[in-house]
Every structure is written in C-alpha cells, then in structure tokens.
Amino acid sequence: MGAPEVKRRHRRDGRRAAPRPVAVSLREYARGVIGGFLFSLPLLYTMEVWWAGFLAEPLHLLAYLAVGFLLLLGYNRYLGLREDSTWGEVCIEAVEEMGLGIALSAAALWLLGRITGAMPLSEVLGKVVVESVPVAIGVSVGTAQLSGPSSGDDPDKGMTAEGARGGWWSELVLAAGGAVLLGSNVAPTEEVLVIANELAPWKVLLLVAVSLALAAVILRFSDLAGAPAAREAGALWHGAAGVVADYGVALVCSAFILWFFGRFAGTAPALCVAQTVVLGVPATMGAAGGRLLLR
C-alpha cells in the first residue's frame, strides 16, 4: 500500500476509472462548503465589502475574479490534487470551486438581506463577485485540508518526493494563497487607512521589521506542522531567503487587495506605501503561516 501503488493504479486505469461513489463526493462538497464559510464569513459580515461590490468598476471586478481563479488553479495544481493530475482536471476542479463560491456567496448575501430582487443587476453582481473569490479559495482549502482520517487514507504515509513537487512555484502559490486569505479579511476595513494615516514613519519601518521577525519565527523557530516538508521543498525558500520571499509575496498581495478596494485612488504615494506595510503584517502571517499550514 502507499501512494506509489495508488499512482500506478491511476495510470493504468487512466480516465476510464470507475466513478467515485456519490457519498464520497457529497462528503467532499460538505468539506468545501464548511471551508468556504470558515474562511470568508468575516467578509460576508463586513459592510465595506458590500460597498466595494458596487463601487468597483466592472474591469476591477474582472481582474479580481481572474486573480482568484489563478490562485485556485495554482492551489489545485500544486496542493489540492494529486501530483500526476492533468491541467484539464485542475481546471475542472477550479471551475467547480468558483461556481460553488458564486452560489454560496449569493445564497449567504441573500440570506443576510444584502441582495434583493429590487436591486439593479450591477449591484447584485458586484457584491456576489467580491464575496465569491474568498469563498471559492475557502472551498478549495476546505476540501483539501479538512478531511478526517476516516476518509480511508493513512495520514502518515507521506510521499518522500512530496516536498519537491512544484518546488518553488508551489511555495509561491501557497504563500500568495495564505496572504490573500488573511489579508482580504482585514483590507476592506477603514482601519488600515486610519492606522497608515496616523502612524509616524519610524513606526512604519518598525512594522516592516516586525513582519520580517514574525515570518522568521514562523519559518524557523516555531516548528509548525508542515515545516519539515517546507524544508524539503527547496533550500531557496527556507532561512533568510524564505523570510524575504514571504514578505515580498505579502507586500505584493496586500498592494493588490488595497488597490482593488479602492484604497489607492487619489492617495499620496507615501500613504499607499504605509497602507501596504500596515496590511503587510497580517498578509505576512498568512504568507508564512499559510505556506506551512495550507499544505
């Protein structure tokens, strides 16, 4: 038994393998729904996120949807599915998760009275799109992460070549996924702007140092679950280089999220940077912690 055997069977049977029992897929969807809500309920309950739905331009929304879809593809490619799954399977999976994300966020928004039949289509659409991306990422993470030991696999039989899978790219995708998941929960609130506005420059610098220190603690000294696999995943993403890379990913992600929520519009460059650094703290927690925990 063990993974190699499973892999061999898969290769032999190819795509004509017998369909999985419906009960198994139902359990998987249940995990997906739980994951979707677990990671995005704070966003579904946040006013600024609803507003972003009708304040954002359609093109911004399309870009947001595209980035979300790319993250899903990356996560499924390197972590969600098996090593030898094809891009076709990865895409099918991502479409399913995106569809679930849209359906779940529409249902939740309707239940909370945030979308009604009397609203114009553009408002309903915007709100649903803004909420559906984090829900879809939550669905993906939930399906992959929340499975219990009863699913028949022995959690200890990890593949030895596991860490090498995807290597650098998989680390990047994981870090970005974690940063977006955590960052987008904080970004839409007015608080980021308030903090950035009132903070003295030396304290902004201190926040940079704190973020780097947090990343170092997470990667180096806390021995979180998943750290050994990360160590195998390539020396590049471990140690000092890993800390800097995680922080880089966190800053890029927080800048994108802030831009999407319109926090950069008509704002002085210095304040944009300060906001990015302020949001960079939770995003770094997501990037470094997520990289270890979301695998």
Partner: protein, 138 residues
C-alpha cells in the same frame, strides 16, 4: 507535510454524474458572471450620477407631525455617496414655510432608495418641492 489524506482524491477515480452536474452548473455560473461583467464594462457607465427625486403622499403621524415619503432613483452611470436631499414646503404665496433634509449613504447606479422627511406644518396647505443639494463621488 503533504499526506495523501489531505488531498482531494478526485483524480484517483472517475467523476460521477453529481460531480459533472456541479461542474456544468459551476461553469454556467462563472460564464454568466464574466459575461455580465464584460457587458457591464462595455456598456461604459462613465456618465455621472443622475438622481431623480419623487415625493409620496403626506401622512399625519401619531406625534402630530407630517410624514412625507421620498424616493430617489440613480439613473446615471456612477454611484453617488452621501446624497443630500432637500424638501421645501412652499406656502400659497410661493414663499418657503418649512424645510426638511435627509442624507442617503449610498446610491449605486440603477438603484432606488427610500427615505422619509417630516414637517411640522401640514403640507396639504401648500406645495412640496424636492431637490438634490449635492453628493460625493466615492
């Protein structure tokens, strides 16, 4: 560490009809969403907010004041924030007798919001006139 238990076993076996159904419904939802967004983007909604105010029939409240329903519709292409609506009660001679104001937080394009303003004097004795004083472009 990535253990097989933490993976979706999807690829190991074929998809069953339920999974295909979820896929096709998901694809339809995704394409409809993208299509609607593209259509929205192409239609080009760059024109400023255009607010139309209409007033309902005044009703006397238990407190002795008079309630006037206000309906504001944004027919423009952008969202108006903090729109200030002013309703004036004009006397028979055309002079202003009383004035009421209300601020609406957000008026997304195409949306309709309802509010109410109150007058001490009975509007039946005069004429009501409403106008938009101003709003922010968020």
């Amino acid at each position: 560490m990535t253990s097989p238990a933490k993976r979706k076993p999807q690829a190991r076996e074929g998809k069953n009809p339920l999974e295909w159904a979820v896929f096709w419904v998901g694809l339809a939802l995704l394409l409809a969403t993208v299509g609607a967004l593209v259509w929205d983007a192409v239609r080009g909604a760059d024109d400023p907010p255009e607010l139309a105010v209409s007033l309902g029939a005044p009703r006397r409240t238990a407190g002795g004041t008079h309630r006037v329903p206000v309906v504001v519709v944004n027919r423009g292409g952008e969202t108006a924030a903090g729109a200030q609506i002013e309703v004036v009660l004009l006397g028979a001679d055309g002079g202003e007798r009383e004035r009421a104001e209300v601020v609406l937080d957000y008026l997304p394009r195409g949306s309709r919001r309802e509010a109410e303003v109150f007058f001490r004097a009975d509007p039946a004795g005069g004429r009501l006139a409403a106008r938009v004083v101003g709003y922010q472009l968020p």
